[in-house]
């Protein structure tokens, strides 16, 4: 049963809006039971991709299959498997939390929508507020209800479009736990995010989408491996020490930030190399104020990738 192992498979997906090419032929596949994160800045094409994957939008070309069903040819089959939680809460704010859930249950033709609603309210810790109008819910509670509503039909694949955008850190953290729990129960999760930390925390596989193309894909560790390891940061008390250190370490690749009096030295990461650097500085009486070994995080990968591509939009950050 090869099909069941692949929850989502996308090949050669293209989409244009008028004359703007939003998706420029993307390919990826998501294994059942994993969390896949599509990471990208605003306007990278994340939402467009989600809209096509969830049958809302027709692709210009390319093939998209959810659990083996083509989204263009069998949308109804796909609807039975997936659920979508969009960027903006899709709840009726004049209804109560429970009413919202019961309505979803009825639309999914469940035999006892009320029972399912109570179950989900309990699971999401909303039981106490079940009969309050959603308009008095906090942003985090609304988001929870939103996700609860998307779980009513027991979907096998869930799509979360920027699930934590606009949430406070605490709500974000509890949302992460919830997504992990969901995944542990066997649900495949496809999420988009603009937060690198979120992708790193949650995803088994991360794809970086930039201006309509996937520029990198892999596990968080694999992506980090793109970056040179063993970057060290030295900071100095004054410009003179900085200048002298720079001259002494000429043999290494460096980058200097004169205002902060910091020097980034790119090494091969070996302890001997570090010892050699410190020895050189010590011998020449250059006093070091502080030292740090930088471990690359996804942010660096992201920026490095975008710069490598010659992207002009976000490159100025570093």
């Amino acid at each position: 049963m090869e099909e069941l192992k692949t929850a989502i498979s996308v090949s050669g997906l293209r989409k244009c809006f008028q004359d703007k090419e939003v998706l420029k032929g993307i390919d990826f596949s998501v294994s059942s039971g994993t969390i896949y994160a599509l990471l990208g800045s605003n306007g990278a094409g994340k939402t467009t991709a989600v809209r096509i994957l969830t049958t809302l939008l027709k692709a210009d070309s390319g093939k998209v299959e959810i659990a083996g069903y083509d989204v263009g040819k069998h949308p109804r089959k796909v609807h039975e498997i997936i659920s979508l939680t969009g960027q903006f809460s899709a709840v009726d704010s004049v209804l109560t939390g429970k009413e919202n859930l019961i309505m979803m249950g009825e639309l999914h033709h469940l035999s006892s929508p009320e029972k399912k609603a109570c179950e989900l309210l309990k699971y999401f810790g909303l039981s106490e507020d079940a009969d309050k109008s959603v308009s008095v819910f906090s942003g985090g509670m609304k988001r929870k209800l939103d996700i609860a509503m998307s779980l009513v039909g027991n979907p096998k694949v869930i799509f979360l479009d920027e699930p934590t955008t606009g949430l406070d850190p605490q709500s974000r953290y509890s949302m992460w736990n919830m997504i992990r729990d969901l995944n542990h129960s066997g649900v495949t999760v496809f999420l988009t995010t603009q937060y690198l930390e979120e992708a790193e925390q949650l995803a088994d596989i991360i794809a970086i989408l930039d201006q309509g193309s996937i520029i990198a894909e892999g596990t968080p560790e694999e992506l980090k491996a793109y970056l040179p390891q063993g970057v060290i940061k030295l900071s100095f008390q004054d410009a003179e020490n900085l200048e002298r250190a720079k001259n002494l370490l000429k043999t290494y690749r460096m980058s200097m930030e004169s205002e902060k009096r910091e020097l980034l030295v790119f090494t091969d990461g070996k302890a001997d190399t570090l010892a050699e650097i410190f020895y050189r500085l010590y011998k020449n009486k250059v006093s070091i104020q502080d030292f740090a070994r930088l471990t690359p995080d996804l942010e660096d990968v992201f920026l490095a990738m975008i710069q490598e591509k010659g992207g002009e939009s976000n490159g100025s950050l570093c």
Binding site: F17, R51, T54, T55, L56, L57, K58, R76, H79, E80, I82, S83, L84, T85, G86, Q87, F88, S89, A90, V91, D92, V94, L95, E99, M103, M104, E106, L107, H108, H109, S133, M149, S150, G153
Partner: protein, 260 residues
């Protein structure tokens, strides 16, 4: 067969949702119940003694006009509700459910039908209190009911179309202004012959005039004018069909995120 029952059930669930929403919305209550009652009272007390139309008292004369005007206002609520669904993410959620997409639109129509029915009832009740004594013949009531039903449908589908096409709730609610003005340019509040020439031509040929005239005859217990009755039905059913088809096409476009 089973699929058919399902589709009706989905439509009913959607309608139930809209009814719940409109019941909790004070604006809706106001436009659906308070305003129609007030309009009826105002018209009769303000103009009742000023306007004299041969053969009928003014109260009797304006009931069908007020009915259509109130149904029109009622339908503007539907326009706003549909617009909110389209512009918030909720339509995306519904469109990824295993339901027929037409039940989303039809649910709104069903709700509008029930709500406008209530409004019509309120208008008729106030009319009764103001001294209108309509014919209670089964046949006349049947004609009235049928005409009310088809005109509610036409208004609701029209409102749905506006709601889907509009880019904001403000735009959608603007259609209510049109609904309020159009009945004035018909035989609803004054005989069409008394209007200035251009308006008269419009009033004589616009769909509301035959509907209003036929309703008025039915209310007064006068014999049915078959040609007027058929023209009214054709207008309403035809408009409903056209509005429905445009709405469905617009819905598809909007769902894909295009502008109309």
């Amino acid at each position: 067969m089973e699929a058919y029952v399902r589709r009706w059930k989905d439509t009913a669930v959607m309608a139930k949702r809209c009814l719940l929403c409109s019941r909790r919305n004070p604006d809706t209550l106001l436009t659906s119940i308070m305003l129609p009652a007030l309009m009826m009272i105002l018209f009769v007390s303000l103009f009742g003694s000023l306007i004299h139309i041969e053969g009928v008292s003014y109260v009797n004369y304006i009931v069908p006009g007020v009915l259509l005007q109130c149904i029109g206002q009622c339908s503007s609520v539907t326009a706003v509700m549909i617009n909110k669904d389209m512009t918030s993410g909720i339509v995306n959620r519904f469109c990824t459910l295993p339901i027929k997409q037409s039940s989303i639109l039809n649910g709104h129509i069903l709700e509008a039908f029930l709500r406008s029915g209530l409004t019509s009832f309120v208008v008729l009740l106030v009319a009764l209190l103001l001294g209108v004594r309509p014919s209670l013949e089964i046949f006349d009531l049947g004609v009235l009911f049928l005409l009310l039903s088809v005109s509610i449908l036409a208004f609701s589908y029209g409102a749905a179309m506006v709601g889907i096409a509009a880019n904001s709730a403000e735009g959608a609610s603007a259609c209510s202004a049109l609904m309020v003005i159009l009945p004035y340019l018909s035989s609803g509040f004054a005989p069409a012959e008394t209007l200035p020439p251009v308006m008269r031509v419009f009033a004589e040929y616009q769909p509301m005039t035959p509907v209003i005239d036929t309703m008025r005859n039915a209310l007064a217990g006068k014999p049915l004018e078959v040609s007027g009755f058929i023209v009214s039905l054709l207008w309403c059913v035809g408009l409903s069909a056209v509005f429905y088809m445009i709405s469905a096409a617009l819905f598809k476009r909007k769902k894909e995120g295009k502008k109309c």
